[in-house]
Each structure stands twice: as structure tokens, then as C-alpha cells.
Amino acid sequence: MPAASTGTLLRKVGFGGITGNRTVFFIMCGVLVAMLGIPALHNGYYENLFRGILMFSTLSMGWNIIGGYTGYVSFGNVVYFGIGAYTSAALWQHFHQLNLLLAIVVGAIIAALMALILGIPILRLKGPYFGIATLGTALATQEIISNIDWLGGGSGFPVHQIDNFSLYYYAMWGVCAVSLAATYAIGRSKFGYALVAIRENEEAAAILGVDPTRTKVQAWMISAMMAASAGAVFAAANGFIDPPTAFASDTNIFPIVMAILGGAGTAAGPLVGAFVLTAINETLWGHFPQIHTLFFGAVIVLVVLFLPRGVLWLLNVRGGWRGLVNSLGAYRV
């Protein structure tokens, strides 16, 4: 029973290139620039909250490259987030290096190598097999690292923090901005079209001269670098890293829900998704301290049922409300 290709779900919205709706993209750029002002508020909570949004946006954009554009739904990008985090922690623990930029760069390189090594065998798999292989990699990596004493074993280790704490906010902002720019650039470049061609129909893409394996591995390496850079900054900001924190399942699943909610396969989708989901989570958590996770589960169910193609898809739904309603039954049996 061949399910519809991921392409039909990730229908391009908006016009001009595959970057998605241009107006929303520029709105989000504006929002991103506005976020530079957060540290000026001197409110630790807001800084922590918005640094979380920036982190999850970066992770979501990372996932978007391999899951949204290339159509390979990965459930293992947290591996690269963890690698980035552990690089930053190991640099401090063993080399007393606290240069954040160095941690980001080294973390990204190691993650890219890991994506290359893992990618070649795993990217040959399709659909659910690829999804679970990546999920398996995430669980296995967490357990393997918790048995490496040089990396702190099961108890993890601390990461020294500098006093000017806003630096971590700006570093995360930088990582997010670079990822957004990279996504937009990819969306307009030949490489971007190669990814989308693979998502739509891998065999036809090969006929048109796109080398599937090399392109997919490159996409996953970019994805890994984005995730690792977010991880490197997170480790320093968090002050402490152990396997469960570095490879948390929330860090694995939330970016995907955010990309879908915002509109995967577009440039600004992940950013929109990160904002909307964090807003929902914070307001739920604020009013229902005990049962907010319960509502959060309900939100995910509702989003998937009624908004499978993301918020940005609403921009171009044809035929007004009737179009909206009858498209909901598109996948019924």
C-alpha cells in the first residue's frame, strides 16, 4: 500500500523558488533581528526562553534540510546535537579551551564527518527503515558515550561558564542567523533544486544528472553541522552535559514538529514553527503546571490532523474554507 510520497505532504507554498513564501521569510528576518534586543531587557528568564527558541529553530532548520527539502525523514539529528555539545564540553574539560567559536567549528566538523560515515550506509534505506535506523543511531550513540570515561561516562561533566552570560545568547543568535541564511541560499541554489528533485522522485532526479547518494550525504552533513553548532553553544550555556541531556528525545522530536507546524520544505517554516510551538508550550505550561504535557500531546495530534502541511500552507490554500475542509479528507480511506 504505497503511501503518498513525502513530496505531496511538503507541497511547495508561495511563489518564486523553493524557499517558500517570501513575505513571511522577510517578516521572520525582521523578527530575528528584533530578537537581538532581548539581552538588553536584563531578564534571565526571557534570555533563556528566547535562546531556547533560537536553539530549536536552528535544530529545526537543520532537520528541514534533510527532512523537509530532501524528503528523508530523519529521527536521529539529536546525535549531531550531542556531538556538538560533547565537543564543547571536551574542549573545556581536557584542553581548557573556552573559545566558543572554536567549539562550534570543531563540533560542526566532527558532526559532518560522523554524518558522512553514517550517511553512506543509512541513506540507502527508504521511508520507515531510514527513520528507525536514525532513531536507533541516536539511542545507540547515547549509550555508547555513557560508557566512554574520557567523555565523562554516565555522569557527564561540567562546562565552565564565563560571566558575560549574554555571549551565549548572541552566539546562539549567530548560529541561528547563519542557518537561516544557509537555508535561504540553498533554497535558491542548484543544490537546493537537487535536494527537492530527490524528494519528489529520486529515480527521475538521477536521470536528470543529480547524483542521489552524494547529494543526500551532503544534505545530511549540512544538517549535522547546524545541529552540532547549536549543541556546542547549548553545552556552554547549560553549564553541564551528560548523555540524557545531550541526547534528550525532546531535542530529537520537537524540531520535527516545529518544521511541520511551520511548513517543512520552506526557508522560514522552521522558524515560524519554533515560535508557535514555544508559545503554545509556554502558555500551556504557565496555566496548567501539572498537565501541560498532556495538552501538548493534544496540540500535536490536532496540528497533524488539521494542519498537516504547516502554517505557511494556509497562505495558499485554494478555494477558501471549502478548500480547507475538503483537503482534510485527502488521506482518508
Binding site: V73, A133, L139, Q290, I300, V303
Partner: protein, 290 residues
């Protein structure tokens, strides 16, 4: 002495394999026939376990007796969840159903947290922990009966799928949904039955789990990835595949933990999963599925 230890691990693996087989069978049915990765499978296992716990604590119903009860209750729950929720997106790409079942799982687990609170519960029957020795190997009665129950459950499932009309309709739908619809199969109803069976089997597996392991709301989650690995080892949609795969996985985990590293128990099984997937993307015995 090493040999005795290896023998004991082999027995441990086989005994544990029973539960994995029943878990995988439910998972495999839903995936093989409806192409849905059911992340809520763990939540149904937890519900089955808590049902057995409640029946045991308040009405002193022996867990083995509550296996059919759990199956029926979860079957009904599964039927309605599929018919009126999942059916909306049942033919959507794998990503959508993956996230939908993830949301359902989060919902069910947190409802259970509110109802049963987070404390760790357990069932201790008169025979819990009793064991007997066969030469150097010690075998626990509970785990032995769990294996027997698992074999019974898989047997019944096999008979249902091959002997009954509905069973054949299910297998027909899995081969070609269009043809099945043409020959008068109400697929929405049938999918609801399949998902109900999957949830029912998870409920039954939950009871078996509650006999040997402690209960808390998120107890089901580790079994999802194990269910998947067993499906890949044993191949999709086949009952024998789930049974063989389950036993194989039990042995794998037991030996992996003993001889490779107690801390690497899950990692060993996952690495084997990756090797199998890369070498034979459709599982060892399984038939290719779209």
C-alpha cells in the same frame, strides 16, 4: 563456569523473547498492513499493565487471567482511535502518522500520570520470583509461564489470520487495498480492526510485562524501538517472523549485555539492527513491503 553463564544467558534471552514477540506482533500488524509506525504502541502496553495491576490489587484477579480482558479493552480503544482519529491521515506519508501517534502517546501517558500518579507500582503474586533449577540453569516460573502465554497468543493470532474470514480479508487488504475495496471489503472498518488487534496485543504484552517488571507511566516507551528491531529481524507482517525475531532479540540483548558490556545492552541490539537494515533492508525472513 563460563559455559554455565552462557547457558543461563541463553535461557534468559529466550524467556525474555516471549514478551518481545507479542510486542512485535502488534507493532508488525499495524506497520505491515497499514504502513503506520505506531509510536502509541508503548502507551497501550502501559495501559495493559495498569489494567492488570488494578484488577490484581482491588479484585485479586491473577494477571494471567486478565490477559484476555486487557486484550479486549485495548482492542476496543484501538478500534475507536483508528476509526475516528488516525483514519483521517491513514494514507498520509509516514511522517504525518509518525507524529500523530507520537502525540497520542504523549496524551495517553500523561492521562495515566494524572490518574495513577507517577509512583512506581508492581505486581507481586504468590508465585512471583519462584524458580526451579535445571542443572546449572535457574528458570523462573513466572517468566516460563510468560513465554508459554506468548506462544499461545501468537498461535491464536496465526490461526485468526489464516483461518477466519476477517483474517483473510486483512491479509488481502495488505496486499492490494484497491482490489480489496473492489471485492466489497470496508477498508475503514477493517483498518480499525487491525489497529484494534495491534492495541489488544500490546495490552496483552503489557500484562506479561507487569508480571516481571515494575510499572510507571512511561514504562512502555523502551518496547517501541525493541518492537521495531524485532520486526526488522523477523520480517514484517508475519506471525512466525515476530516470534522468531522476538526470541532472537531476547538472546541478542542478553548476550550483548553479558559479553560486550553490561552498559551497552541496548546499543548492541541497535547496532545489529543497523547492520541488518543496511545488508537486507527488508529484514531476514520478511517479504518486501512497499
Amino acid at each position: 563456569m563460563e559455559f554455565n553463564l552462557a547457558l543461563q544467558d541463553l535461557v534468559n534471552g529466550i524467556l525474555a523473547g516471549g514478551i518481545f514477540a507479542v510486542v512485535a506482533l502488534g507493532f508488525s500488524l499495524v506497520w505491515g498492513i497499514m504502513n503506520i509506525i505506531n509510536l502509541a504502541h508503548g502507551a497501550y502496553i502501559m495501559l495493559g499493565a495498569y489494567l492488570a495491576y488494578t484488577l490484581f490489587t482491588f479484585w485479586h484477579v491473577d494477571p494471567f487471567v486478565s490477559i484476555p480482558l486487557a486484550f479486549i479493552v485495548l482492542f476496543i480503544l484501538g478500534y475507536f482511535i483508528q476509526r475516528y482519529i488516525i483514519n483521517f491521515v491513514v494514507r498520509a506519508p509516514i511522517l504525518t502518522t509518525f507524529l500523530l501517534t507520537f502525540g497520542l502517546s504523549l496524551l495517553i501517558i500523561n492521562i495515566a500520570l494524572v490518574v495513577f500518579h507517577g509512583d512506581v507500582k508492581g505486581i507481586t503474586t504468590s508465585y512471583t520470583g519462584t524458580n526451579f533449577a535445571v542443572g546449572p540453569v535457574t528458570i523462573s516460573w513466572t517468566k516460563l509461564w510468560t513465554l508459554v502465554a506468548a506462544l499461545l497468543i501468537t498461535g491464536c493470532m496465526q490461526m485468526f489470520l489464516t483461518r477466519t474470514k476477517t483474517g483473510r480479508a486483512i491479509r488481502a487488504t495488505s496486499m492490494d487495498i484497491g482490489a480489496a475495496q473492489l471485492s466489497g471489503v470496508n477498508v475503514a472498518h477493517l483498518y480499525a480492526i487491525v489497529y484494534g488487534l495491534g492495541a489488544g496485543l500490546a495490552g496483552a504484552a503489557g500484562v506479561l510485562v507487569s508480571l516481571s517488571y515494575s510499572l510507571q507511566p512511561s514504562m512502555g516507551d523502551p518496547f517501541i524501538i525493541k518492537g521495531f528491531v524485532v520486526c526488522v529481524l523477523g520480517g514484517l507482517g508475519s506471525v512466525q517472523g515476530a516470534l522468531i525475531g522476538g526470541i532472537l532479540y531476547g538472546i541478542l540483548e542478553s548476550f550483548g549485555s553479558q559479553w560486550i558490556g553490561t552498559g551497552l545492552q541496548d546499543a548492541t541490539a541497535l547496532v545489529v539492527l543497523l547492520l541488518v537494515l543496511v545488508v537486507r533492508p527488508r529484514g531476514i525472513i520478511g517479504k518486501a513491503v512497499a
